[in-house]
């Protein structure tokens, strides 16, 4: 965690987006993570995605748990309220925050220790509840803050920096998210920004629970031969199912494409996900096919990336609860308190 703000010096020619902000306006404090940490690349991708989406930074609430990954919300969107909660319990806090004010955009940032170990339950229940948010796990298979212990996503047989071999089966958060009912599920690689930025843009614009597992190598403790979460391993074993373009609904669509290769997915808010399927038989609208495909490739040691599943018409917890359009935190006594007369009638019924 740093207390150093980046100097606010703008190059006069920096481009502004439609809401009048430059990329610099989406930055946060100076990162204290190790040089080369995959998490910093993810922060950069989030900054890029929010800038490109023309989001007003203060309309985002960014929440995290505990761990290296959970520190990162301090390093982007400095004008947003952030909340670094307790280990593994970000999803419930985000759920409550979302219930209080449905008008903000919710970004949940977590790690593999945070979400796959102590927070596995909260991760699971936030997915099945359909809380509208972009839930990003920065997955390096290792506990960085406590110096190199295996996390629950470390592959069976992979080696720690000290040479220990992991004997436990890994928790696959993508498989779980698919099984639990998340309506937008993707996997990215921190070393592939071109794929990651549109994946995040799609997640932020999605109408329900969006989950992205981002393989994010830990340069200090898990970037060595024997690790399946190292830069080299992921680069060599990356199996991308799709390339994704995110197109705002307000823009004319002018993306170059060949017939049969492209799936356009229009989301509920009018935005468009343009999926270039790299495998002609891959259908991102089929939850069960996605699960099978991913697991088949995983058996071969391949890391499947891209947008794996999307339900473009997904709704969220507010829809399920039928809550009012106005944020609950904006309601006053006139809307909330039944008043003295109703109380007198209630008293009468209790005699």
């Amino acid at each position: 965690m740093t207390y150093l703000a980046k100097p606010r010096l703008h190059h006069p020619t920096l481009a502004t987006n439609k809401v009048g902000y430059t990329r610099r306006d989406y930055e946060g404090k100076i990162s204290t993570l190790c040089a080369g940490c995959g998490h910093d690349s993810i922060s950069a991708a989030i900054i890029e995605a929010c800038w490109e989406l023309d989001i007003e930074p203060h309309r985002v609430a960014k929440l995290s748990g505990i761990g290296c990954s959970s520190k990162t919300p301090d390093y982007f969107l400095g004008a947003s309220h952030g909340f670094n909660t307790v280990h593994g319990r970000m999803p419930s806090v985000l759920t409550g925050a979302n219930l209080a004010n449905r008008d903000l955009l919710y970004l949940g940032v977590s790690g593999d220790g945070d979400s796959a170990s102590i927070g596995l339950g909260q991760f699971a229940h936030a997915m099945r509840r359909g809380v509208r948010m972009a839930y990003i796990v920065e997955n390096n298979g290792v506990y960085g803050l406590t110096k190199g212990q295996f996390s629950a996503t470390a592959d069976q047989g992979s080696k720690s920096k000290k040479g220990l071999v992991n004997s436990d089966s890994p928790v696959d958060l993508v498989a779980m998210a698919l099984q639990l009912g998340a309506s937008y599920v993707g996997r990215g690689f921190s070393g592939n920004k071109a794929q990651l930025v549109p994946l995040i843009k799609g997640a932020i614009s999605h109408g329900g629970a969006a989950f992205i597992d981002v393989i994010s190598p830990c340069v200090a403790f898990n970037n060595h031969p024997g690790s399946t979460k190292s830069y080299d391993y992921v680069r060599e074993h990356n199996e991308a199912v799709s390339r994704i373009d995110f197109i705002s609904g307000r823009e004319e669509i002018t993306v170059d494409m060949g017939p049969g290769e492209v799936v356009d997915v229009r989301q509920h808010d009018g935005t468009l996900l343009r999926l270039r399927s790299l495998h002609p038989d891959y259908n991102p609208g089929d939850r069960y096919a996605a699960m099978a495909y991913m697991q088949r490739h995983q058996e071969r040691g391949e890391v499947v990336t891209g947008l794996l599943y999307v339900d473009p018409l997904a709704t969220d917890l507010h829809t399920a609860l039928n809550t009012c359009d106005r944020p609950l935190n904006a309601l006053g006594p006139a809307e909330l308190c039944p008043g003295a007369e109703a109380l007198a009638r209630l008293n009468a019924s209790l005699r």
Binding site: V86, S92, V93, L104, G332, N347
Partner: protein, 629 residues
């Protein structure tokens, strides 16, 4: 109807013990089998007496089990209005063969046993110092009803009918209650009235009146009859809670269920059908408090309801809410601990766990309602206090108040009341250039200003975290920054002492050096005990605590009395520990009066404990020795 063969009522009190004679002052207990449908019949019985203007104090007594096991319902009929549990039973309605021996043993000598005499029992199954009233309930129901469930259910109504005649309860009153209960459901109304009359008629023709009588009085006034959990839920509705997250646990589950019921009644927009509330049954207590923390952080009034084991699970989040300064309301309906303890029995044993919940140096605001009326008031107050103080606030009720209907003052509400949302800085204030330091004590009361997410494009945003920070919410491990915050939190706690409900003093009739401190559900038994002690010449000034932190008046009360009894329902004298610890008082001056068997404390117990101590002290004084507390 004549008693069927084999169903002869048993005989009279023997062994020279006269039957108990009492009007509007007795205890009747129903021993039932869980799932037999007796609960609504028993409640009907209690309400009928209430409608005759005679106060009652009923209690559900139920072991932690599901269907088929024992359950009891005890009704204290009390013209004097003593709403605590009395102890002892004058009449037992013994409907559960499994608990027969224990139920029989519980009767006071001269008491009455009412039982289903369809199956004859040998004389050895009775006591000769009680009066036995047999009624062939099963046989009557089997003769009238074909459906097995009806045979079971109406047995309860039939005995209510018989008891009405035996005790002098007007059947018309019961019929009127049925009319209200089954409004618009004429078929149900007619069949219940029929069952009632079956019971009345049998009793008129075959049974003799008892020495126990209910006589019309005018002692109920405008009081209402309601359980504390419903009242607390209603307080949350009136207090403006919009987010509730909970996980089922006895005895608190009915708080969330009642909140759902009242919100559905009062908070659905008639035009759109949309809800002005959100209730989530979370996956566990960790998630439920997490959601409340998130909602509180984001400016909604939010609460959870739980019990001791839930508090244990929530402790980490409570510490975060304390240190990050987030409004949170927690309703703790206490039960017997530790661990799973006695899940369906009552205690006041979470005091220290809540006062100091979580690791590190923490202190939390606790409110102690004495009855459903205060459950309502304090729940609404807790939401205000949490927002004002930006901290967790606990409503400390217990099973005795929470799950039993209690006669109490009607709920009141002032429509001109605005919610105290505390120090929330608006976009306009930020725009006007007001200095915003999230953890800065600008007003000298220890309470900083906060902003809500999304307020302003460039001002007022900050990063909330459980790690330490400076006054501007910037991460800092500097000692002076840490100390500034920790001492400011203490100052805030001192401010809390001026805002919480103040203690209630009941001075003794004459001047005395003895005092007694009590709180929460102990209240009605304490009031009865004070009268009885007064009658024995033991005068006590009584102070009912309503909150922690302790206001100055508690310090003054302790200073004014040589010795103060602290009456509480736990083993380790937790409130006494809190008083000693927080007020730095000599422990020798605080005398423990502890009741912790899981049943509600009785006036008898308090009187016995205090008078024994006073006698001992007097004897020691007379002998010239120095008495230690």
């Amino acid at each position: 109807m004549a008693p069927p063969e084999g169903g002869k009522a048993h005989g009279t009190t023997g062994a020279g013990v006269a039957p108990i004679e009492a009007v509007n002052d007795f205890v009747i207990k129903f021993a039932n089998v869980n799932g037999s449908g007796s609960a609504s019949a028993n409640e009907l019985f209690a309400k009928a007496i209430l409608r005759m203007g005679v106060p009652v104090s009923p209690r559900n007594i139920f072991p932690s089990n599901i269907q088929g096991l024992p359950t009891w319902y005890e009704v204290r009929v009390t013209e004097e209005g003593h709403l605590g549990r009395r102890g002892g039973t004058d009449m037992m309605v013994a409907m559960n063969p499994q608990t027969w021996d224990a139920d029989l043993a519980e009767l006071e000598p001269g008491g009455y046993l009412f039982y289903d005499s369809t199956r004859p029992l040998p004389p050895s199954k009775f006591r000769d110092d009680i009066r036995v009233i047999g009624m062939p309930l099963t046989e009557i129901c089997n003769a009238v009803y074909q459906d097995p469930r009806q045979r079971q259910l109406f047995k309860n109504i039939v005995y209510v009918g018989a008891l009405a005649i035996l005790l002098g309860i007007e059947p018309e009153v019961v019929e009127k209650l049925f009319g209200e209960q089954y409004k618009g459901k004429e078929k149900l109304l007619a069949s219940n009235v029929q069952a009632l009359h079956l019971g009345c008629d049998f009793a008129r023709e075959n049974l003799e009146p008892l020495g126990l009588r209910v006589r019309r009085a005018d002692r109920v006034g405008d009081r209402i009859f309601v359980d504390g959990n419903s009242a607390a839920a209603l307080g949350c509705v009136y207090g403006g809670a919009t987010v509730a997250a909970w996980y089922p646990i006895t005895p608190s589950s009915s708080v969330a269920e009642a909140f759902q019921k009242y919100c559905t009644k009062f908070r659905v927009d008639p035009a759109t059908g949309q809800q002005r509330f959100a209730i989530v049954q979370a996956e566990d207590e960790l998630a439920s408090i997490g959601m409340v923390v998130g909602a509180g952080w984001n400016g909604a009034r939010a609460f959870t309801a739980t019990s001791g084991p839930g508090i244990s699970l929530m402790a980490e989040f409570i510490g975060l809410a304390y240190f990050a300064e987030i409004p949170v309301t927690i309703i703790d309906v206490q039960r017997g601990g530790p661990s799973t303890g006695m899940p369906t029995r009552t205690q006041q044993a979470d005091i220290l766990a809540c006062a100091y919940a979580s690791h590190g140096d923490t202190k939390h605001v606790l409110l102690f309602p004495e009855d459903p009326h205060e459950c309502f008031e304090h729940a609404a107050a807790a939401l205000d206090l949490a927002d004002r103080l930006q901290t967790p606030v606990f409503l400390m009720t217990d099973l005795d108040i929470g799950m039993n209907q209690r006669l109490c003052a009607p709920f009141t509400w002032d429509d001109s009341k605005a919610y105290d949302r505390g120090k929330v800085m608006s976009a306009e204030e930020l725009e006007a250039g007001r200095d915003f330091g999230r953890y800065k004590d600008v007003d000298g009361d220890g309470i900083p200003w906060r902003t809500l997410p999304g307020t302003h494009p460039s001002k007022g945003s900050y990063f909330t975290r459980g790690t330490t920070r400076d006054a501007y919410a910037r991460y800092s491990e500097r000692g002076p920054d840490y100390i500034y915050n920790m001492e400011r939190l203490l100052k805030k706690f001192a401010t809390a002492a001026t805002l919480v409900p103040q203690p209630v003093l009941r001075p003794a009739a004459g001047k005395t050096e003895l005092g007694v401190i009590y709180f929460g559900s102990t209240s009605p038994s304490m009031h009865e005990a004070l009268q009885a002690l007064e009658a024995r010449g033991i005068h006590l000034d009584a102070l009912r605590l309503r909150a922690f932190p302790f206001p100055d008046s508690v310090v003054q009360f302790l200073a004014q009395h040589r010795q103060v009894f602290v009456v509480e329902q736990n083993r380790d004298a937790q409130m006494r520990s809190l008083l000693v610890n927080e007020l730095d008082i000599d422990p020798a001056r605080l005398v423990r009066v502890l009741h912790f068997d899981g049943t509600p404390i009785t006036a008898r117990f308090i009187v016995q404990a205090i008078s024994a101590h006073v006698r001992k002290t007097q004897a020691a004084g007379a002998a010239g020795t120095k008495e230690a507390a």
